[in-house]
Symmetry: C2
Subunit: 406 residues, 2 copies
């Protein structure tokens, strides 16, 4: 008997029929003699609808109230899912995030899990119950409801799997697994049978929407294998784990892309110590997440400093950065919100200079201009014009022979 944690996303439980469908899938896992814990998202667009209602009433809703409000979406889906299982003759119980022991800090809207007190979950499993946990939510030390922010329900599932020492955490979603590139852009994209945590993390950070990076990180931390698969088919999906075989290393595993990119350049910055801090500390204080940062070589002690942010934060960034730019004596501050980024990801890349060369020459052959480059040990990212992203992904997919199944 194994303990299996499953997660079902909002589109998988969007209506009564879909909830019954999910219940049947859970029942199959239970019938095989497993103990099953399920984390579930809110039905369909519930969360967006609740948030829209909040903004109708208050343009700047309080984080605590907003979290208490949106957390109701997962309470609804978790209770309905438990009822669907009971209607099929299974013993099931729904638990709120708080009841399931998801203890978080008090950072509303994007709380961090401090620990999982799984006593209640264990007790219900021992009673023979299938345990349905409301995803995306936790409870703070002050006993207030918090939500975990983006990727919250995935994070709930992996955290539960870690604390319960589950055999596997199965993330059921509306895609068939992790692909070598977005299949909507690249029809020849191949589903990967397996991928390492680090590679998945880079793909996720660089725009692959299939899983949120924080859930992948948590999986790596607890060494919990994560299966990503469709809740609508019985296809095998992709297993994210630490023991990916050597054969699939030292090659590009996937192409990620992201259109949510805006570039800000502070032009003509006097190059002296403390300049970068003067710019990025206020941005951090304003909770703005800065992605790639590039500083050009200085000429006559004058340099340009460029960084990228999510497009939705550009207005706020410019509000923060304009006065600072004047203070530090920069010439001007310009932005461009028509960019995209494309990344190749694969373990062992740092030892193989050929990857970067092949990436740059592939883009060059297509006449695609590279505006910024950033690299990690297992990734190379190029910022390019947004209208060329699709071409770039396709060309790179072909250049790195990803259209051939492993």
């Amino acid at each position: 008997m194994a303990l299996i944690v499953q997660k079902y996303g909002g589109s998988s439980v969007a209506d009564a029929d879909k909830i019954r469908n999910v219940a049947r899938r859970i029942a199959v896992t239970k019938d095989k003699g497993n103990q099953v814990v399920v984390a579930v998202s809110a039905m369909g667009d519930t969360t967006d609808e609740l948030i829209s209602l909040a903004y109708q009433i208050n343009e700047h809703p309080d984080g605590r109230e907003l979290d208490a409000l949106v957390s109701t979406g997962e309470l609804v889906s978790s209770t309905l899912l438990a009822m669907a299982l009971e209607a099929m003759g299974y013993d099931a119980i729904s638990l709120s995030g708080g009841q399931a022991g998801i203890r978080t800090d008090s950072t509303y809207r994007r709380a961090l899990i401090l620990k999982v007190e799984s006593k209640r979950v264990v007790k219900e499993l021992e009673k023979g119950n299938i345990v349905i946990v409301a995803g995306f939510q936790g409870i703070s030390e002050g006993e207030d409801i918090t939500t975990l922010g983006r990727g919250g329900s995935d994070t709930t599932a992996v955290a539960l799997a870690g604390s319960l020492e589950a055999e596997v955490c199965q993330i059921y979603t509306d895609v068939e697994g992790v692909y070598t590139a977005d299949p909507r852009l690249v029809p020849e994209a191949q589903r990967l049978d397996e991928i390492g945590y680090d590679e998945m993390l880079e793909l996720a950070v660089q725009g692959a929407k299939v899983m949120h990076p924080r859930a992948v990180e948590l999986g790596e931390l607890y060494n919990i294998p994560i299966l990503v698969a469709s809740s609508f088919t019985d296809n095998p999906g992709t297993l994210i784990h630490g023991g990916v075989s050597m054969e699939v290393r030292n090659k590009v595993r996937g192409i990620a892309h992201d259109l949510d990119v805006a570039k800000v350049t502070v032009v003509g910055v006097p190059d002296r110590p403390g300049i970068a801090a003067a710019i990025f500390e206020p941005l951090a204080a304003a909770s703005i997440s800065v992605d790639t940062i590039v500083q050009n070589a200085s000429i006559d002690n004058i340099t340009d400093l460029t960084f990228t942010v999510a497009r939705g934060q550009l207005d706020e960034v410019m509000k923060v950065i304009q006065p600072i730019s004047q203070e530090i004596g920069a010439r001007e501050c310009v932005s461009d919100a028509t960019l995209g980024k494309v990344s190749i990801v694969g373990t062992g890349m740092q030892n193989m200079p050929g990857f970067a060369a092949r990436m740059f020459s592939t883009l060059s052959e297509k006449g695609i201009n590279i505006q910024l480059i950033s690299t990690s040990e297992i990734r190379i990212t190029c910022i390019i014009d947004e209208v060329r992203v699709k071409d770039a992904v396709r060309a790179l997919h072909r250049a790195f022979e990803l259209d051939v199944a492993d």
Copy 2:
């Protein structure tokens, strides 16, 4: 500075505009220098919609799951109301029933409040917050969500008022207060400025929908004055309290009526000890609430036993009662679901035989046949044909001179 508890019903918070309207009313009370605690119902038809969703998924939903599900309705309205107050510049915080310390037993769907641990509410009041409590819900000793059943949000409000020793509990609803009769039936019906707990209790039990009897009982227990008024107007409403002046005693205060009446008669029952218990114990075990019970004088040791129940329970009653009826050797068991009841209520009635006589003669003059009569110290109730209820209420309203303002 007084502490005031208010309650707003579902129709008062049915949409964003109505929620803002309620927030403005709360703000007026706060601006007068009061501490304010508010219990709020779910928006409009939310509760019914959630229940309908549950029954789509499971024809016999588990009570625990159903309570966890429907309790989300009040979480939504309470957080939105807190946000509306914050948008107006007021400090406000929403609390779930559990956070507000409403501790109940584990009787899902109709839990009883065991105690109110008001520590958190007091703390938030001391911080200067207006405290918005999700009505209708509590938390069991096992930390599971419960709901309080009919009249639940009124009960939440009065229980909070009792535990906080509030100056008054104001129940805001879609009617202007307590009337001498239902104004939809009797256009001349007069709003009462005040009424005693006992009289209100009898009116409520006998069909006046304005307040649920259990909230009135709780108000009497803690001696908390309860104001019933409209959330849409600034009219004064009706104050329910214990100190109603002597002048308004010893007269009929109001006419209640109820169309949700079904009559069951067990015909030809051998009149021996234990027969009533044999009939009513199984009904109680099936959670059927029996109203009026009448047993005719026995002839040749054979009697008829008649009682009334809510129409929705009639099928279940017949299922329980038919086999028992055979067991105890009764001749047959008949029912009638086309009845209504009409009651006159007023303190001091028991000392004034003239009331009963006037009631019976008024109905007789209208050619209305009385099928059953029951009385309490402050009430006389007649069961009559449902189609004559309207005529009866109007005639009695006139006969007892209730169309004249106090």
